[in-house]
């Protein structure tokens, strides 16, 4: 089952399903432990490595072997993280929420009977044009790839009309105003 060029092939020896099978599986009791009537597996089974080295394994470990990694002084992620640390932090729900926690919940509307509304993004439709952020900077941040971060708390400070305007402005119709989940 192992592929010849798999660097992890020796980690997960193909013991075959049969070697670890209980020979007899008795009826299970209502509570407590599982009794075992048959002899337990005889092959040394010191545990199992997940992500085994069989063919068809969706993991593609080849580019991340230790040798490859250790030869690299700084991984792209480390470099990115280092570069990122020098930039102002990307907007996150956390720091957006700190922007104005005391704003009133105007998005719920003057009419108290109207259900609360929230902005939702149709994520597959969103193509990171960023107009929602331009129109609602206090409630919609952008991540480092330009995709919106909608902050539900800050939405409370929005006027419904402004939110509707942002919805209408989205070039891919990816922003929607929907009833808040009850």
């Amino acid at each position: 089952m192992s592929t010849p060029n798999d660097p992890f092939a020796d980690e997960a020896p193909d013991t075959g399903a049969m070697t670890i099978l209980p020979n007899g599986a008795p009826a299970l009791p209502a509570t407590g432990s599982i009794p075992v009537t048959g002899p337990m597996p005889t092959s040394p089974q010191t545990g199992h490595v997940i992500l085994p080295a069989t063919t068809g394994i969706p993991i593609a470990p080849a580019p991340s072997t230790s040798a490859h990694r250790l030869a690299r002084p700084e991984s792209p992620a480390a470099a990115a993280a280092r570069a990122n640390a020098e930039r102002p932090p990307a907007p996150t729900p956390q720091n957006l929420r700190q922007s104005d926690p005391a704003k009133p919940s105007a998005l719920r509307g003057a009419n108290a009977k109207r259900p609360g509304k929230i902005l939702r993004v149709d994520w597959p439709a969103c193509k990171a044009h960023g107009l929602c952020h331009e129109l609602l900077p206090e409630a919609v941040g952008l991540d480092e790839w330009g995709f919106p971060i909608v902050d539900r708390e800050s939405l409370r400070g929005l006027r419904l009309d402004d939110a509707k305007r942002a919805v209408a402005a989205c070039p891919t119709l990816a922003l929607r105003l929907v009833d808040a989940p009850s």
């Binding site: 993991i59 593609a60 480390a78």
Partner: protein, 425 residues
């Protein structure tokens, strides 16, 4: 009730899986999949009305077995109330590599699943059942089709449509399944309402996991008192587990809720003094202490910060590095993104890269901060829960292995016995 033994079937993600005879759902696994022998064990259940089925499944609190554990009676009641033209879907797509239970059911006792689906369909006055089978486990489709043909030869009046996913981790997600059924790409789309209200063709769609239907059939067949005779008071009955499902030696077994996780591992020949990844690749790590102490109940696993999910139990070699394993799983999950939602398409590879840097070691605070930035940024920003599930796994790694995480960030992997590290040296 159980004769013991097991069936070896080809429904594992990587080949054979042993389906061990169990007390209920898996009681007939050594009988063979035929209808006649199935009927000796499980007589044709009498029809049940929708209201009665809602009440019955509510009484023993049947939960969905696809991972989310949503109360089945509520889903059924929603579908009942949502309109007259309805659809019933059996989701056996099982895109999670660590799970083989649904394939195991359909390859060994398909008629129990179909009994449950027909009970639900009749209660909802539906005469057609959709069954979604996995793209990766090609043996499942012919097995299901053979079972359907047997029922129709036997005078069955319900018709079936079998759909096969295109494979992939997210291909079995509910909306991706409805897309597939609708003739569109088998990928998740934004859900604006629950499927039970507006699913296939925008009609109420009862879409549940294959095991859930088998549990419904067992419940109707046994009656609520007998059904609740095993398990715990809060979580009656049994559950299917897949142990080591993502590798050779996969085992599917049925246990009553409340058994000790350590007994399950021991029973399957795995060590109990090592961490376990519980709930699959979207699941959470359990420490070796929790592995010994916890029981197989949703409540106990949730209390340990984990989840039962779809019953996936992934034992780990004692010498393996959990940081490295997490990094490799996240790299796989990043590759499994449908690449439709920007935050997932960009964020999961970024998270995977940061974790790779963490696993290599010595990246220091910037790498840790990058990991935390991505785990803060990803959840709730996609049409499916793929980023959320991935972040759940990473967060559990950060929570469960803080010393290992710090050792990697500021020094190197402390597990010199990791075979791959040894090779590198």
């Amino acid at each position: 009730m159980t004769e013991g033994g097991h069936a070896v079937v080809p429904g594992g993600f990587h080949g054979q899986v042993a389906v061990v005879a169990g007390p209920r759902l898996l009681s007939g696994v050594t009988d063979g999949p035929g209808l006649a022998i199935h009927r000796r064990r499980w007589p044709l259940p009498p029809p049940i009305s929708a209201d009665d089925l809602v009440a019955l499944t509510g009484r023993v609190d049947v939960r969905g077995r696809g991972g989310a554990a949503f109360p089945f009676s509520r889903k059924l009641a929603t579908a009942v109330d949502a309109g007259n033209k309805r659809f019933v879907v059996v989701n056996a797509s099982e895109g999670e590599p660590g799970s083989a239970k649904d394939s195991g059911l359909l390859l060994t006792v398909p008629h129990l699943v179909l009994d449950g689906a027909e009970l639900v369909a009749e209660a909802l006055q539906v005469d057609m059942i959709h069954i979604v089978v996995p793209g990766e486990r090609t043996e499942v489709r012919p097995a299901v089709e053979a079972a359907i043909a047997e029922r129709q030869d036997d005078g069955g009046t319900i018709s079936y449509v079998v759909h096969q996913t295109n494979g992939g981790f997210v291909g079995g997600q509910a909306r991706a399944v409805i897309e597939l059924m609708s003739g569109r790409e088998n990928l998740p789309v934004t859900s604006w309402a629950p499927e039970a209200i507006s699913g296939f063709k925008n009609k109420p769609t009862l879409l549940s996991n294959a095991e859930t239907y088998a549990q419904v059939a067992a419940l109707v067949g046994l009656g609520p008192s007998e059904y609740a005779r095993v398990g715990t008071a809060e979580e009656p009955g049994t559950t299917l587990l897949t142990v080591a499902g993502d590798g050779p030696g996969a085992v599917v077994l049925e246990v009553p809720f409340g058994v000790k996780l350590a007994d399950v591992l021991d029973h399957c020949g795995h060590s109990v003094d090592a961490p376990v990844l519980m709930g699959g690749y979207h699941g959470a790590w359990l420490s070796s202490t929790d592995v010994i102490q916890r029981r197989v109940t949703r409540a106990d696993l949730t209390a340990a910060g984990a989840t039962l999910g779809a019953g996936v139990v992934l034992p780990v070699d004692r010498e393996a590095c959990p940081i490295d394993l997490t990094a490799r799983i996240v790299a796989y999950l990043a590759g499994q993104s449908a690449r439709r939602c920007g935050p997932c398409r960009n964020g999961l590879p970024a998270l995977a890269e940061a974790l790779d840097a963490l696993a290599v070691g010595g990246g220091g605070t910037p790498v840790l901060e990058r990991v935390r930035q991505m785990t803060g940024l990803l959840p709730g920003r996609g049409s499916c829960a793929h980023p959320d599930g991935t972040v759940r796994l990473v967060n559990s790694m950060l929570r469960m292995f803080p010393d290992e995480v710090n050792a990697h960030a500021y020094d190197a992997c402390p597990r010199v016995n990791d075979p791959r590290k040894a090779v590198a040296r």
